[in-house]
C-alpha cells in the first residue's frame, strides 16, 4: 500500500482557511513585535548614549538577560508568570483581549529590542570619529554633522543586520505556538491532527516559511551589496 502524497487534500475548504489565518497571524505577530522591538531598541540606544554611566549598565543588563535566556522561556515567563503580578483589572483586560497574542508580541518585541540596540550601537560606533571632526571643522553644526555625515553612513551599515534580525524574528514567531497563538506552526499541527495528512500539512507550511525567509534573505543580500561602505 503506497502512500499517496496529495497536497490538495489539505488545501481545501476549512484547512485552507486555517493556513491562511495561520499565515496572517504569523505576519501580524512579526510586524507587531518588529515595531515594538524597533521602538524600544531605538529608545535603549538613545538612553545608553547619554553620559550617565548607570544607564549604560541598565541597558547592558537588559541585553544580557535577553541574550542568555532561551526565547521560549522568556515567552513562558510572560505568558504564565507576568499576569500573576499584574493588578486584577489589568489582568482581566489582557485575558479578554487575546492574551496569548499580546504577551507573545511583548516577549518577542522585547527580545528583538535587545538585539536591535546592539546592532544600532555597533553601527554608530563603526563610523570613525574623524568623520565627525571633519564635518565640524568645515563648519557644520552638531545637528548638521549628525544628520548629513554620521547618521546616513551609520544607517547604511545598520540596515543589513536589521534585515537579518527581521528574519530571525519572523522565524521565532513560531515559538508562540507553545502558548497557543494560532500562528502558522500551530495551525499546521491542527490541520495535521484533523486530516492525518502529516507530510502534506508540514510541506505546505515549510514552503510558506521558506518562501518568506528566502525573500528576506535576498533583501538582506541586496542591501548588503548596495550599501557596502569602504571606511578608512
Amino acid at each position: 500500500m503506497g502512500y499517496v502524497f496529495d497536497p490538495a487534500a489539505v488545501l481545501t475548504g476549512q484547512y485552507l482557511d486555517w493556513f491562511i489565518w495561520g499565515l496572517a497571524t504569523t505576519i501580524a505577530l512579526t510586524l507587531a513585535a518588529w515595531l515594538l522591538g524597533m521602538t524600544i531598541g531605538i529608545i535603549l540606544t538613545l538612553v545608553r548614549m547619554l553620559p550617565f554611566r548607570p544607564f549604560e549598565w541598565l541597558v547592558a543588563g537588559y541585553v544580557e538577560y535577553h541574550r542568555n535566556v532561551p526565547l521560549l522561556v522568556q515567552i513562558l515567563v510572560w505568558y504564565f508568570g507576568v499576569p500573576q503580578l499584574l493588578p486584577r483589572a489589568l489582568r482581566m483586560w489582557v485575558n479578554s483581549h487575546h492574551s496569548e497574542f499580546l504577551l507573545a508580541m511583548v516577549a518577542l518585541g522585547l527580545a528583538s529590542a535587545a538585539y536591535i540596540t546592539e546592532d544600532l550601537r555597533s553601527g554608530i560606533r563603526s563610523i570613525p570619529k574623524t568623520q565627525y571632526e571633519a564635518a565640524r571643522s568645515i563648519g557644520f553644526s552638531y545637528l548638521q554633522a549628525m544628520s548629513y555625515v554620521i547618521l546616513p553612513q551609520a544607517l547604511r551599515i545598520v540596515i543589513p543586520p536589521l534585515i537579518n534580525q527581521t528574519l530571525l524574528l519572523f522565524k521565532n514567531t513560531s515559538l508562540a505556538m507553545a502558548i497557543g497563538v494560532g500562528e502558522l506552526t500551530y495551525r499546521t499541527r491542527e490541520v495535521d491532527s484533523y486530516t492525518f495528512k502529516t507530510f502534506e500539512a508540514f510541506a505546505v507550511a515549510t514552503i510558506i516559511y521558506l518562501a518568506i525567509s528566502f525573500a528576506i534573505m535576498a533583501l538582506g543580500a541586496f542591501a548588503d551589496r548596495r550599501l557596502k561602505l569602504e571606511l578608512r
Binding site: 538577560y65 542568555n68 532561551p70 521560549l72 522561556v73 515567563v77 504564565f80 516559511y209
Partner: protein
C-alpha cells in the same frame, strides 16, 4: 521562591533519576554537549562541500544549509518527529528526536562559521601547502582546519550557548529537559508560575552568561595574540 527550590531542586537538576529517566538540567547539558559535538564533523563536511570545486557537492550542501536556515527550528523538530521513525523503522523518543534535529540545525549554522573561517585565512596558506607537495586532504586537515578551529574558539563557545538555549524546545515535544521539568513543577504547584519560570530563566541565565563571558574573554585574548591593533569585535 526558595521553598520551590528546596522542594524541587532534584527534579530540576536530574529529573526522576534514578527512579526514572534522567532529565532536568542534566539532560539539557547532555543534549547541548552531544548536539554540538555530533554536529561538528557534519559542519566541517558541509563547509568543505560548500567550498568544493565539484558542483554536485557544492549544490546539495548549499541547498541544505539554505533550507535549514530558512526554517524555524520548531518546524524542523516536527519534521524530525514524524520523518525519523519512518526512516529508521522504529519509534523514536523525544530526546532522540530533539538531538537529531539539533545536530542538523546546528551543523548548518556552524558550517557557515567554519566556511567564513576558511575563507578568512590568507590564500598563501593553501598555496604554501601545495608548494610543499601536500595534497587536498593533508592541506585541509593539517594546515587549514587547525588554524580555522583555533580562530573559531569564541564562535564555538557562542554556538554552545545557542545550543543550550535551543534545547528548551524540548518542552514542545515533551522531551525531558529542564524547561519541561519546570513546566511539570508548575503544573503541580499551579499558583506560582512567575516564581517557577523566573527560577528557570535564572538558571539558564547563570549558565549561559558564564559561557558568553568566557567567549568574550577568548575573543580578547585571540585579538591580543594576533598582535592586533586593538580592534575590538563589536
Amino acid at each position: 521562591m526558595l521553598q520551590i527550590l528546596e522542594d524541587n531542586w532534584l527534579l530540576f537538576l536530574i529529573g526522576q533519576y534514578p527512579h526514572g529517566p534522567i532529565g532536568g538540567l542534566a539532560m539539557t547539558l547532555f543534549l547541548a554537549v552531544a548536539g554540538l559535538s555530533l554536529s561538528f564533523p557534519v559542519a566541517i563536511a558541509l563547509a568543505l562541500a560548500r567550498l568544493s570545486s565539484h558542483r554536485w557537492l557544492r549544490g546539495p550542501a548549499t541547498a541544505v544549509v539554505y533550507v535549514v536556515r530558512g526554517l524555524p527550528l520548531i518546524m524542523f523538530i516536527f519534521w524530525t518527529y514524524f520523518a525519523l521513525p519512518l526512516l529508521i523503522g522504529r519509534t523514536v523518543g523525544g530526546v532522540e528526536t530533539l538531538l537529531f534535529a539539533l545536530v542538523v540545525y546546528e551543523a548548518s549554522y556552524l558550517s557557515e562559521i567554519i566556511r567564513a573561517g576558511i575563507e578568512g585565512l590568507p590564500k598563501g596558506q593553501t598555496e604554501a601547502a601545495k608548494a610543499l607537495g601536500l595534497g587536498y586532504v593533508p592541506t585541509t586537515f593539517k594546515v587549514i582546519l587547525p588554524q580555522v578551529l583555533h580562530n573559531m574558539m569564541p564562535s564555538l563557545v557562542s554556538q554552545f550557548v545557542s545550543t543550550i538555549k535551543e534545547t528548551s524546545l524540548g518542552y514542545v515535544i515533551s522531551a525531558n529537559e529542564v524547561t519541561f521539568a519546570a513546566s511539570q513543577v508548575n503544573n503541580q504547584l499551579m499558583t506560582q508560575p512567575f516564581e517557577v519560570y523566573g527560577l528557570l530563566a535564572l538558571t539558564y541565565f547563570t549558565l549561559c552568561f558564564t559561557l558568553t563571558s568566557a567567549a568574550r574573554w577568548l575573543e580578547r585574548r585571540l585579538a591580543a595574540e594576533r598582535g592586533g591593533l586593538g580592534v575590538q569585535p563589536a
